[in-house]
């Protein structure tokens, strides 16, 4: 029976002789992940079972990144629960601040998730790792607890949707715009329960960091996972990772030519311009060029979607030797310590600060209305993050517009939503 890449990876991780969409399986996990919001619940459940150890101390990853560095006493206690648990069970991959980064930027960067892996994370954006050619999906805390005990997760084999992108990307258009375009086309539940497979000549030429941005937001279309077949770009990315204790560069799967898809969509990317998702759903997408009358109070550049070095380079290119609009707040958050150092060494941090912005330590912070940039009543933000729900970044009457880093940087200069061509 022909299989999609998703089905092949699932088959490799289960005892079942074959897999087909709709089938329930128990699957072995290569990595399970939790953070300071989701892991405390999981740890409570884990301890209740009386388990003496985790199934594999090298395969559990704990990252306090959401409310860390601890924003208040309660958050400090949540982070402490992770630290204590990691110590008690000798969990190697616990990342205290100083080593910590936004989890979905950190794990690929460290080579902790590999092509062909089956990964679950108690965080909805765990779908990010599909960019590496892994099956990777968000679950809840109880799932994480069960996986820490047994090394397994129950899954329903998803149907797959195929998204074929062709044509050359226009200037200032990247992975973020491709995924916003896709979500706007199919809606926030357009891929409910399904694996979203991205392919075509545009994807074959798309840099890894753009692929990560795309797969990151599969969940915003209701997807169970996003995935891109590993190729030369994947191999180059994996070989460049300097981490001696990693498990190699993974296993490269691809879909059979006659594999079955529930739906096939084709997009001519030459027609796509820099996009913005307006409040309060990621599917409410309009071209940045049509939103020039929307004034903005705060710009956030960072997150698991767009906080990587390539994102900061784009933003710095636009902000170099310029000042942000007086009265507007610009917050730049490199996603990991490595990105932070690169941004310092390349002079990007200086550009942001001289433009009038702040340059923060890695954290999920404002993306979920946690800290480091909460919005007041009625304020509006442009953010390179992934969700623009009501009150997502602060007061329920505040608004979030989602964009790529180029639009965000241009907006910071203009004080209103701007196309990058207006400022450079």
């Amino acid at each position: 029976m022909p299989h999609t890449i998703t089905e092949k990876i699932l088959l490799k991780h289960t005892k079942a002789k074959d897999v087909h969409p709709g089938q329930f399986i128990d699957a072995k996990v290569d990595i399970c992940l939790g953070n300071d919001i989701t892991a405390p619940f999981a740890i409570e459940e884990f301890e209740k079972t009386g388990a003496k150890k985790v199934f594999d101390k090298n395969k559990v990853v704990l990252v306090p990144d959401h409310f860390a560095p601890a924003k208040d006493m309660k958050s400090a206690n949540q982070c402490k629960i992770l630290a204590n648990f990691a110590k008690k069970y000798s969990i190697k991959n616990y990342f205290e601040i100083g080593r910590m980064g936004v989890e979905h930027a950190l794990l690929p960067e460290m080579g902790l998730v590999l092509p062909g892996d089956l990964v679950i994370g108690a965080d909805s954006h765990t779908c990010t790792y599909g960019a590496l050619g892994a099956f990777s999906t968000g679950v809840g805390s109880t799932d994480l607890a069960a996986a820490m005990v047994a090394g397994e997760v129950w899954l329903k084999v998803p149907e797959s949707m195929k998204f074929i992108f062709f044509g050359k990307l226009s200037k200032w258009v990247g992975g973020k715009d491709l995924i916003l375009h896709t979500i706007s086309d199919i809606g926030v539940d357009g891929a409910l329960y399904q694996a979203m497979e991205f392919c075509g000549e545009t994807i074959e030429n798309l840099p890894m960091e753009d692929r990560l941005s795309m797969c990151n937001m599969a969940i915003e279309a209701g997807g169970k996972s996003g995935i891109i077949a590993p190729d030369k770009i994947t191999e180059r990315y994996e070989r460049a990772i300097k981490n001696k204790s990693r498990r190699g560069i993974g296993k490269f799967y691809s879909s059979d030519k006659d594999a079955k898809y529930s739906k096939v969509k084709e997009y001519d990317v030459r027609k796509i311009e820099p996009l913005v998702a307006c409040p309060s759903l990621p599917s409410n997408v309009k071209p940045a060029s049509k939103l020039k009358d929307v004034t903005i109070d705060q710009v956030v550049i960072g997150s698991c979607t767009n906080g990587r070095i390539s994102d900061l380079r784009i933003a710095a290119k636009i902000l170099k030797d310029k000042k942000i609009k007086p009265g507007l707040r610009l917050i730049v958050i490199p996603a990991t310590q490595k990105v932070y150092l690169e941004a310092v060494n390349e002079g990007l941090a200086r550009i942001f600060v001289e433009a009038g912005g702040v340059f923060s330590t890695p954290t999920c912070g404002p993306c979920l209305g946690g800290h480091v940039g909460i919005l007041a009543a009625g304020e509006r933000a442009v953010a390179t993050t992934n969700r623009n729900f009501i009150g997502r970044m602060g007061d329920p009457t505040s608004e979030v517009y989602l964009s790529n880093p180029a639009v965000a940087a241009a907006t910071a200069i203009k004080g209103r939503i701007a196309h990058p061509d207006e400022v450079i």
């Binding site: 329930f24 919001i37 989701t38 405390p40 619940f41 409570e44 459940e45 209740k48 079972t49 959401h66 409310f67 924003k71 208040d72 309660k74 958050s75 206690n77 949540q78 994370g121 108690a122 965080d123 909805s124 765990t126 968000g138 679950v139 809840g140 805390s141 109880t142 799932d143 607890a145 069960a146 005990v149 047994a150 129950w154 926030v188 539940d189 409910l192 329960y193 969940i219 209701g222 169970k224 759903l281 979920l368 209305g369 946690g370 969700r387 729900f389 009501i390 009150g391 997502r392 329920p396």
Partner: protein, 163 residues
Amino acid sequence: MKNKMRIHKFGDDINTDDIIAAKYLNTTDRAELASHCMEHIDKAFAKAVSAGDIIVAGRNFGCGSSREHAPVAIKAAGVSYVIAATFARIFARNSINIGLPIVESKEASDRIRKGDSVKVDTKTGLVRNLTRKESYRFEKYPPFMQKIVKAGGLMNSIAKKKR
């Protein structure tokens, strides 16, 4: 089964930030989570809801973040069933894993109005609307999920397997 309850209606795409805002995620205290349930979209809900009530919502209920705090807050608020046209994936599996009963039925979601008297019968897979004298069929959990539910949630089901 006595399943007479009050109905709380919600629309499409109710996300987990709506159900429990991120600022309350620095705790695992069930009662506290319940006291802020639906705060961003319906300030009165947490006070109005009482044990046995039913939430009836539209499409894609529970979309967004994976926070288990969302079904936990709903369960701790005393809600006995969530009925929706469709559920977002992670919310659905979290509900099953923690034992919050969910019912997927577009018809029930469309037809049930605030004030209706409704009974859910999981054995027959029927939602009965006593006010409108209608009933709506729903797909029962597949056997794989029923095992988890019967065991009293995922952790019990895992413990059973290990024995």
